[in-house]
């Protein structure tokens, strides 16, 4: 029977949501592929998470829990996933497109000579083979991709694939596995940054600010609305290049490509490279004083108005809404 191998990321005893999305998608693909789902967990403490991974659809959990797999190191993780591929000979390998997945998956693909499609937003099975859909040019176009040979490897964009229904009665067989944990490049320190509260690429709601805010001293209007809505903060390239905010907040073709449920663009005109990075959002709100701004061409809801007047009212309305829901 064919195998779909997935990689699941865990830290501090918790599985990341994007990894569970990947397991859920593997479960969905399992029946048209006639495959079982095997999930790889690397690092101590993996075995304790086997039940949760199983509840989303894994039939087997392969645990590399040697103490030497204490903190992420590309070569060690790639060796472990490479070992799991050698052991299970999967037809499909799915990895979340997170910082870690993005660093590790191509190394594994090169190791096993597999084709890798990055940042997939859709997967289906046709004639027993995987067919993927992925944005290119930061979403200015979408490519339908097919693989030659096996395994067919893909990284999956977080926040796009729905979580499956959790079934706590599902059980997975736990297989203990080993690989060389040696690595030359190693992490020596980790520092959280101030914007670390809600992650842009995994956020359900993003509030972004642009040049319409006129200066860095006004960016708190965007941050205030984001806080009221429980959203991540984003920014246009213009304000990043002007040094108002850190480049990590940049949404667009040379920044992050995002697909939240709701994207609120404040004082952003909508340069083509910005639209590329956010136009796959489910709902888009544009607030801009120029009614002809290109951002209104992609928006679902628009307010033609002054961000300095609208944002404080919107923040208050969002707070009132949240309070009314208790």
């Amino acid at each position: 029977m064919a195998t779909i191998l997935t990689f699941a990321e865990h830290r501090d005893g918790k599985l990341r949501r994007s990894s569970l999305e990947v397991v859920s998608e593997a479960r969905r693909l399992a029946s048209p592929l006639g495959a079982t789902v095997s999930t790889v967990l690397i690092g101590p403490g993996g075995e304790a998470l086997a039940g949760e991974v199983a509840s989303y659809g894994a039939d087997e959990v392969r645990v590399f829990d040697d103490a030497a797999f204490g903190s992420y190191a590309t070569e060690a993780w790639a060796a472990a996933l490479g070992q799991a591929i050698a052991d299970t000979k999967p037809s499909v390998v799915l990895v979340p497109f997170t910082s870690l997945g993005k660093d590790m998956a191509p190394r594994v693909a090169a190791k096993v000579g597999a084709g890798l499609a990055s940042d997939c937003v859709g997967l289906e099975v046709k004639g027993g083979r995987l067919v993927g859909r992925r944005p290119v040019y930061a979403g200015k176009a979408y490519a339908t991709v097919e693989w030659a040979g096996e395994p067919q490897m893909a990284t999956l964009r977080p926040n796009v694939f729905p979580l499956g229904t959790k079934d706590p009665s599902r059980q997975a067989a736990v297989v203990k596995a080993t690989a060389s944990p040696s690595a030359r490049a190693k992490v020596t320190a980790v520092r959280a940054t101030a914007q670390g509260k809600v992650q842009l690429t995994e956020a359900q709601i993003i509030v972004s600010g642009g040049r319409g805010l006129k200066g860095p001293e006004n960016f708190h209007l965007v941050e205030g609305l984001a806080e009221a809505m429980g959203a991540a903060v984003g920014a246009s390239r213009a304000v990043v290049d002007a040094g108002w905010v850190d480049h990590q907040l940049q949404v667009g073709q040379t920044g992050k490509t995002v697909s939240p449920s709701l994207y609120v663009a404040c004082g952003i005109s909508g340069a083509i490279q910005h639209l590329a990075g956010m136009s796959s959002s489910k709902y888009i709100v544009a607030i801009n004083k120029d009614k002809d701004a290109p951002i209104f061409k992609v928006a679902d809801y628009g307010i033609v108005g002054d961000v300095f007047e609208v944002l404080p009212k919107l923040t208050a309305a969002a707070k009132a809404h949240l309070a009314s829901r208790g």
């Binding site: 590309t74 070569e75 910082s99 870690l100 993005k102 660093d103 191509p106 190394r107 090169a110 597999a114 890798l116 944005p135 290119v136 040019y137 930061a138 176009a141 979408y142 339908t144 991709v145 097919e146 693989w147 030659a148 490049a185 992490v187 020596t188 980790v190 520092r191 959280a192 940054t193 914007q195 670390g196 509260k197 995994e202 709601i205 990590q248 940049q250 040379t254 490509t257 449920s261 709701l262 083509i272 136009s279 796959s280 709902y283 888009i284 709100v285 544009a286 061409k297 992609v298 679902d300 809801y301 628009g302 307010i303 033609v304 108005g305 002054d306 009212k313 919107l314 309305a317 809404h321």
Partner: protein, 260 residues
């Protein structure tokens, strides 16, 4: 120090993408201008800064068609010393792994190399795969998405951007490092640099010259079709005074869109 910088030529980020008649690629005739992928500019700049501080040489390498040589000339104009252009018809349909195999073979002809720098992503294909693949193929350690690089004696300290933070990595050299926005401010080529670049050597080599055949770079992932994103429905403008607009928007987001 000998530093190799991998560069890719891509359409300008302001390009309005159109699909070619073949249906599986962008229409190159609709590309206004071709540029060095912006992340590769950070890699070139970092290589030049390391060379300026430590001495040595910078070699720019690309895999691409004839037009890609302009990207190498840009790197040379910025200050790279020489360039290698891997050019072969078989590379035109290649995927990231094929490209990485061609680049790795080219880099092997340049050893000993102390550092391989790349952009963290080629804009357009948006794969973010080649740097890590190069590291595996060359059996080197890697640090990707770097926002700070400090080269020491036989080693480097690299800060890498991850969700919600930064990691500091230590790696022995040689290594592959991929550059993220924020690493530096790339310089513009001076007129003198542009004139001088014309005299710098560009070594053109095909796959056979690197000991590879077409099968080695045959794509494992193929684009079967390319399409523009579906058009979004027309915007619904909310009228009224700012307070009324704000309340109505929150109501719509809650009751209609059901996203808050």
């Amino acid at each position: 120090m000998k530093i190799v910088v991998c560069v890719k030529q891509v359409p300008d980020t302001e390009t309005r993408v159109k699909v070619a008649a073949s249906g599986d690629a962008i229409s190159e005739t609709d590309v206004g201008s071709w540029i060095v992928s912006p992340y590769d500019e950070f890699a070139i700049e970092e290589a030049l800064r390391i060379k300026e501080a430590k001495g040595g040489e910078v070699v720019a390498v690309t895999a691409g068609p004839d037009r890609a040589q302009a990207a190498l000339r840009t790197a040379l104009a910025m200050g790279a010393d020489s360039a290698v252009h891997v050019k072969d018809a078989a590379l035109e349909a290649s995927d990231a792994l094929g490209t990485a195999r061609a680049l790795a073979a080219a880099i092997r002809t340049l050893v000993p190399v102390d550092l391989v720098l790349c952009g963290q992503q080629g804009v357009g294909g948006d794969n973010s795969q080649v740097p890590a693949m190069l590291a595996e193929l060359l059996d080197l350690p890697q640090v990707t998405v770097a926002v700070k690089v400090e080269v020491g004696d036989g080693k480097a300290t690299v800060e890498r951007e991850v969700e919600g933070g930064r990691e500091t990595w230590e790696t022995p050299l040689p290594a592959v490092v991929s550059a993220q926005k924020g690493l530096n401010e790339p310089r513009y080529a001076s007129l003198k640099g542009i004139m001088g670049a014309k005299k710098k050597p560009v070594h053109v080599v095909d796959l056979a010259g690197l000991g590879l055949d077409a099968a080695a770079v045959a794509p494992r992932v193929k684009v079967a079709a390319l399409e523009l994103p579906p058009a979004r429905p027309a915007v619904r403008l909310i009228e009224g005074d700012p307070e009324g607009q704000a309340k109505e928007l929150i109501r719509l987001l809650h009751e209609e869109a059901k996203v808050i």
